[in-house]
């Protein structure tokens, strides 16, 4: 009797998949699709959120025109590009050789070493910001202490700054400081990516190359690097996307304002401020869509860059 009752509640096989999918779909609709479409809608409106939804007014392309004429918007784009390059390029230039080194040189210690490099990636941004704020501190920061120590050395000393550097408040040094943190934070992630790729390269290819007379360096250049190419593409794409959306690290280090002379203000920070500090949600939405176009364009470009060689040579 009971069994029969249960049977009555059985879902029809056609319906079951949709029911099981619905939690995700629902969340995705509410927190993914809706904000996306709403921001697109907002980009063509002028709106003071404090005056309620009824205060919205259609303004056509005005918000975009405003964004494109806004000096700070362009400045934030330049900052973002600078930071993306200065943190992204070294990430890969260091991660690839480092991954190769770890791959070939650490036996049982390997996982521990990889874990150490991966740590920053999973550490809270706030903790990182506190750590680096103290490292970069003008008077007591370790970095300035080391620099002043180096300046005592006869020849090298000439290249070192003579006074403690105010890293996080000087417009000239805030960007390198942020780039360093971003580099430090994501290099381990890239190492893990490249290690995974290295493990898929068959060993006998290297043996064949050894027989063919390739030195270790030549094996790296002619075998390892080309084999890593798909992963480099993947990693660089992630870096491009992540770099252009850079927010957290810069936001916390500059106290959420972009630093003096807006030197540390990324586009993501600026459009956040545009919305929540200046209460202009329309312009902020327009800027976010402009940023999206830049991201899409650069991703496409990366894709082109990595795919041309194979098909044309």
């Amino acid at each position: 009797m009971r069994a029969a009752k249960f049977m009555a509640f059985r879902l029809s096989p056609e319906l079951a998949p949709y029911l099981f999918l619905s939690p995700f779909v629902l969340l995705f609709l509410v927190f993914g699709v809706f904000p996306l479409l709403f921001s697109l809608y907002l980009a063509f409106q002028t709106w003071e959120p404090t005056s309620g939804l009824a205060a919205m007014q259609f303004v056509g392309w005005d918000n975009f025109a405003f964004a494109l004429q806004d000096e700070w918007f362009w400045k934030s784009l330049k900052n973002t590009a600078w930071l993306a390059l200065a943190s992204g390029v070294p990430q890969h230039l260091v991660a690839i050789p480092l991954a190769c080194f770890i791959h070939s040189s650490f036996g049982s210690l390997r996982n521990g070493v990889v874990g150490a490099y991966f740590m920053p990636y999973i550490t809270s941004t706030v903790a990182i910001a506190i750590l680096f704020s103290s490292l970069f501190s003008t008077d007591y920061g370790l970095i300035n202490v080391v620099l002043s120590g180096l300046s005592q050395i006869p020849l090298l000393g000439g290249l070192m700054p003579q006074h403690p550097v105010d890293w996080l408040n000087d417009p000239d040094t805030i960007k390198p400081a942020i780039a360093l943190i971003v580099f430090w934070r994501y290099v381990g992630f890239n190492v893990v990516l490249y290690l995974a790729a290295l493990q898929t390269i068959p060993k006998d290819i290297y043996e064949a190359a050894t027989m063919d007379g390739a030195s270790r360096w030549q094996q790296f250049w002619f075998i390892t690097l080309p084999s890593l190419k798909p992963m480099i593409f993947f990693g660089v794409t992630l870096s491009v996307i992540g770099g252009l959306q850079l927010f957290e690290e810069a936001f916390i280090l500059t106290g959420g304002r972009g630093g003096s002379d807006q030197a540390g203000m990324t586009t993501a920070i600026y459009l956040y401020r545009m919305a929540f500090d200046f209460n202009d949600f329309g312009a902020a939405s327009a800027m976010s869509w402009l940023l999206f176009i830049v991201v899409a364009l650069l991703t496409w470009l990366t894709n082109r860059l990595f795919s041309t060689k194979e098909s044309h040579s």
Partner: protein, 349 residues
């Protein structure tokens, strides 16, 4: 030139001794085959000659020069891997020319040499392709081509055909034979397929657990296997090994009599094709008859004899379950002593 000389070659992994002292002279231009069961150390020895494994003891000489410490590329040996080991991101031409590029050969000369090798292997039209665009057989040719381009003194093959299907394996086998005649270069070839060994080799070294059981020409190995291991390993279907009778079985005694076994003989080997059906002789039960078309393999039960005897007979003579009479060809009998070593023929009768 391509003379390889091994003197007391050994290989140890930690405590385990894998190669236990190999002495072998491979002549210039010879096709030498290493054959043996899995794990006997064939690949290890080949890789030691190539320089991919260090040599724990003994001396390796290539063309008279001690090669133990030479870099792999300087030994004049080229290797063809079982997995082909082609560089996936390079075209066929680039794959074949890679060694020359590493040696600093200018581009045009490289292209010319690659072109010549491609002609020999009939893969000219594949030169611009990538390995993933090739069939297994084509990849194998490219792998061989990559070895040829280097003009090595010795070719080393590690089971190069084992990833191919049966038909392709046969055609590549003849191809390799042709290639050996054309290039007249020393080849050392590892396989565990005895058909390959018998058809390709000028000489065959049969390996077992890190040492050579017998070294000789293919037909010598087949007709005069020096010990029971070789007798058992070479030949398809396996040789019949018949123990000296200790039971009172009349059939077993009659068989031993027919085989002309003597007091010192411990075991007698007889190839299946030398066991015939006869009008009268030793009675045997056909446990299984495998019909191969041109011939049949009979698995025979003789009372008192351990295991089944195999006889290769003209097709279609018997069916499973039938009683037959068998007669061995006594002139083809191989006699082994207590230690499993071949006894001088004619020593007993």
């Amino acid at each position: 030139m391509g003379q390889v000389s091994l003197q007391g070659i050994r290989k140890n992994y930690a405590e385990v001794s894998v190669i236990k002292g190999i002495d072998l002279e491979v002549q210039d231009g010879e096709f030498m085959v290493f054959v043996g069961p899995s794990g006997c150390g064939k690949s290890t020895l080949l890789r030691m000659i190539a320089g991919l494994e260090s040599i724990s003891g003994g001396e390796l000489r290539i063309d008279g020069v001690r090669a133990n410490e030479l870099r792999p590329a300087d030994r004049g040996a080229a290797m063809v891997f079982q997995s082909y080991a082609l560089y996936p991101h390079m075209t066929v031409a680039e794959n074949m020319g890679f060694a020359l590029k590493m040696a600093g050969v200018p581009k045009q000369q490289r292209a010319a040499q690659v072109g010549r090798a491609a002609e020999v292997l009939h893969i000219v039209e594949l030169l611009a392709r990538y390995p993933k665009e090739l069939s297994g057989g084509q990849r194998q040719r490219v792998a061989i081509g990559r070895a040829i381009v280097r003009k090595p003194a010795v070719f080393l093959f590690d089971e190069p055909l084992s990833n191919l299907d049966a038909a392709l394996r046969v055609s590549m086998r003849t191809e390799l034979s042709r290639l050996h005649k054309e290039l007249a270069t020393t080849m050392i070839y590892v396989t565990h397929d005895q058909v390959e060994a018998l058809t390709l080799g000028n000489r065959i070294a049969v390996f077992n657990q890190g040492h050579i059981e017998q070294l000789g020409a293919p037909m010598d190995l087949y007709h005069r296997p020096a010990n029971e291991f070789v007798a058992n390993f070479i030949g398809m279907p396996n040789i019949n090994l018949i123990d000296r009778p200790d039971s009172a079985s009349a059939a077993h005694l009659a068989l031993w009599e027919a085989l002309q076994g003597s007091a010192t003989v411990q075991r007698i080997g007889l190839r299946p094709e030398h066991l015939h059906l006869a009008g009268q002789g030793i009675p045997a039960l056909v446990v299984l008859a495998e019909h191969l078309g041109d011939s049949s393999i009979l698995h025979l039960q003789v009372e008192g004899v351990n295991g089944l005897l195999k006889a290769k007979v003209v097709a279609g003579q018997c069916i499973t379950g039938q009683m037959v009479c068998i007669a061995p060809d006594a002139s083809r009998v191989l006699r082994y002593d207590v230690d499993g070593r071949l006894m001088e023929s004619g020593g007993n009768s």
